[in-house]
Amino acid sequence: MGLERTEELSLNMGPQHPSMHGVFRMVVTFDGEVITKIEPKVGYLHRGLEKLAESRTYTQFIPYTDRLDYLSAPHNNMAYVQTVEKLMGVQLPERAEYLRVIFAELARIASHLVFIASTALDMAGWTAWTYCFRDRERILDLFEMSAGSRLTVNAMRIGGFNRDVPPEFWPALKSFLDDLPEMMEEYFGIFYGNEIVMARLKSVGILPKELAENLSITGPVLRASGVQYDVRKAEPYGIYDRFDFEVPVRYGCDSYDRTLLRLDEIRESGKILRQAMRDIPEGPVTAKVSKIIKPPAGEVYHRVENPKGELGFYIVSDGSPKPARVRIRSGTFINIQMLPIVALGWKIQDLIAIFATLDAVLGEVDK
C-alpha cells in the first residue's frame, strides 16, 4: 500500500457565513482540514464611495465617510475633514482640535472593544463578547449625546465641529475612564488569560516583519510584527504631538500578539484621553470657513492612524465646489492581502482566528 492521496475539498466560505465579519467571501481549498489555498473575494459591500464623492460637495461627503469603517466613524470623519482643511489651509480653534482627539481616541477604544468581542466570538467565547459590547455602549452613549448618533456619528465639519459637546459629556467620560482599568482586567480574565485562547492563538498565523512591510500592512497588525510605527508619532496630525503616550509594539508576529496589542492600545488611548480632558481649553469649536467650501486647485494626501490601519485620503481639487477625485486608502483592504499567504498550512479553526485578528471591517474593505 503506497501513500494515499486525499482528495482536496474546496469550500466556499461567505458571504453568508457566521464568522465572515459581514460579507467577506473566500474560496478555501482544504486537504482534510489543512488549508492549501485561499482566494479572498471582496466587493459585496461595494458602494462606490469614491465615485459618489465626485457628485457631492465637500461638506456633503462627510456623512458618507461614516460608512467606511463604521466601527470608528469619527476617525474617518477626521481623516476626511483634515484633508480638506489641509487643502484649504484652515487653522482650527484649540478646543476643536482637542475635541477631535477625544472623539478619535474614544472611537479607537470602541473599535478595539468590538475587535476583542468579535475575536472572542469567532472562538465561541460568547460571554466575553457581551462584556465588550456592554462597555462599548457607554462610548456610543457619549457619541449620541454630543453628536446625535451612535454609529454613523457624523460629528466633524470642515473647520471644526458643528457644536460643542453638552456639559454632561465630561462626567460621563470621566466615569468611563475611571472604570477602564477594571474593564480591561475583566477582558483579560475572561479572554486573554484563558489557556484555551492562548493555545489557539499563540504562534498561529505568523506574519514576519519583512513580509508585513512588503505587503504594505499598517496599523496594529504591523505593530504586532515588531515595527514600531504609528502615524500619530511618525507624522503627527492635529495636535497629537502634544500628548505623551507610547506606541505599543510586540514582537511575536502571531495572532495572540495581534490580539494583545489591541489591549495595549486601549490603555494608551485612555492615557491620551485623560491628558486631553485635563488640557482642553474653553472657546469656540468652529473656525471661520465660508458656507460654500471651494478649496483651491491642488492635491493633498493625508493619513491618520485608524484603529484598523492607516486611513489615507488623497483629494484632488480643481477649484470647483465638488472634488475632482477622492481616493480612499483604507487599511484593512490592504491588510487583508496577508490572509492567503499567512493562513496556508493551518486548519479551518486557525483560519477563522487569523481572520479575526486582522480586524477587517467590510465597510472599509469594500468602500
Partner: protein
C-alpha cells in the same frame, strides 16, 4: 418521608395488582411500556427545562435576564419554540442520501432513551435492571457518533461532512479515557450493575475515593455530548452547524432533543458512578436527590460552556491522548494499589 420515598414503587405495585397474577406476562409488559413512556417523558421534560435553563444561564452570565416574554419569566419559551419547529417545512436537500438523512435524527433521539433506561432513579427504581449496565451504557452512547456521521455524510453539504468527520475524530480520542475513568469504580465495587454501584456508595460517594476519575470523566463527558468547549462538531463559527446545517423543523428538533437527552444521560451516569446516585440524607426522597445532583452537574456544564471559548481539534486530541488517558490509567493503577493495601491491612486489624 418513607411513604414519599416509596411512592413510585407503591404505584407500580398497585398497577401490577390490577392484573390477576401480579407477575403475569401482561403485567410485566404493561410495566415495561409505562417505564418506556416515563423515560420518553423524562427526556422531553428535561429538554424543555434544560433549553430554557441554558438560555437563562447564558443570559445571567452576560448580565441579561434571558428569555422573558412568554409566561412568567419566560418559562413557556421552549414550548413556543417547539411549536414553531413543528410548523416548519421539512426540507430534504437535493442530492441527499434520503434514507440516511431521515434515519439519523431518529437514532440521535433513540440513544438517550436507551441509556436513560438503565439508570437507577431511586431505590429499586431502575426501569431496566441490567447486570452489565455500564458496558451497555458505554456501547449505546458511542453510537451517537454514528448518527452524527450519518447526518453529516447524507446531507450532501461540505460543512456537514466536515462536522461529521470531526465527530468521528473526536470520539476516537475521548472515548478511551471515558471508559478507563469508569474502571476504577468497577474495580472497587466488583460489579457492572448500576443499582449495585449506587448501593455500594451507601457510606461514602466514590468522588471521595476517585477524584481523579471524576475529573477525567467530567471532561470526557463534556466531549461526549459535544458541548463547548468541545463543540467542534457543530462549531458554528467554522462549519456553520456541522451535521445539522441542512436539517429543518422537527428533524432538527429531534437532534436538539437528543443532544439534551445525552447531556442528561451523562450527568445521570456521573451522579450514579461518583456522587452516590439517589443516596442522600433522608430529608428528601431518593429520586429528588438524584435529580438535584444531575441538575448540579448540568449547571456546571452550562457554566463552563458560557465561559470558555472553543478548543482546537488537535488540542482536544492532544488533551485526550496525552493528558486524560495517562491520568485515567494512573487512576486505575492507584485504585489497584489502594485495593491491594486495603485487602492486606483490613483483615489483619480486624475491620
Amino acid at each position: 418521608m418513607n411513604a414519599l420515598n416509596q411512592l413510585p414503587l407503591n404505584i407500580a405495585a398497585a398497577i401490577r395488582s390490577l392484573f390477576g397474577d401480579p407477575h403475569s406476562i401482561w403485567a410485566d409488559l404493561t410495566m415495561d411500556i409505562i417505564s418506556i413512556i416515563l423515560v420518553i417523558v423524562l427526556i422531553v421534560l428535561a429538554a424543555l427545562i434544560l433549553i430554557l435553563l441554558e438560555r437563562k444561564v447564558a443570559g445571567w452570565t452576560s448580565q441579561r435576564p434571558g428569555p422573558n416574554r412568554l409566561g412568567p419569566h419566560g418559562w413557556f419559551q421552549t414550548i413556543a419554540d417547539a411549536l414553531k419547529l413543528m410548523g416548519k417545512e421539512d426540507v430534504t436537500p437535493a442530492g441527499a442520501d434520503r434514507l440516511m438523512f431521515k434515519i439519523a435524527p431518529m437514532i440521535m433521539f433513540a440513544l438517550p432513551m436507551m441509556t436513560l433506561a438503565v439508570i437507577p432513579y431511586g431505590h429499586g427504581m431502575a426501569p431496566i435492571r441490567l447486570n452489565l449496565g455500564i458496558v451497555y451504557y458505554l456501547a449505546i452512547s458511542a453510537v451517537s457518533t454514528l448518527a452524527l456521521l450519518m447526518a453529516g455524510w447524507s446531507s450532501n453539504n461540505k460543512y456537514s461532512l466536515l462536522g461529521g468527520m470531526r465527530a468521528v475524530a473526536q470520539m476516537i480520542s475521548y472515548e478511551i479515557p471515558l471508559v478507563f475513568s469508569l474502571l476504577g469504580v468497577v474495580m472497587i465495587t466488583q460489579t457492572f450493575n448500576l443499582s449495585q454501584i449506587v448501593a455500594d456508595q451507601h457510606t461514602i460517594p466514590f468522588i471521595v475515593l476517585q477524584p481523579l476519575a471524576f475529573v477525567v470523566y467530567l471532561i470526557a463527558g463534556v466531549a461526549e455530548v459535544n458541548r463547548a468547549p468541545f463543540d467542534l462538531v457543530e462549531a458554528d463559527q467554522e462549519v456553520v452547524a456541522g451535521p445539522f446545517t441542512e436539517y429543518t423543523g422537527l428533524r432538527w428538533g429531534l437532534f436538539f432533543l437528543g443532544e439534551y437527552g445525552n447531556m442528561t444521560a451523562v450527568a445521570a451516569l456521573t451522579t450514579t458512578m461518583f456522587l452516590g446516585g439517589w443516596q442522600g440524607p433522608a430529608i428528601l426522597p431518593g429520586y429528588v436527590w438524584f435529580f438535584l445532583k444531575v441538575g448540579i452537574i448540568i449547571f456546571f456544564q452550562m457554566w463552563v460552556r458560557w465561559t470558555f471559548p472553543r478548543i482546537r481539534i488537535d488540542h482536544l486530541m492532544g488533551l485526550a491522548w496525552k493528558v486524560l488517558l495517562p491520568l485515567s490509567i494512573l487512576n486505575i493503577f492507584l485504585t489497584g494499589v489502594g485495593i491491594y493495601i486495603y485487602q492486606l491491612i483490613v483483615p489483619r486489624i480486624g475491620g
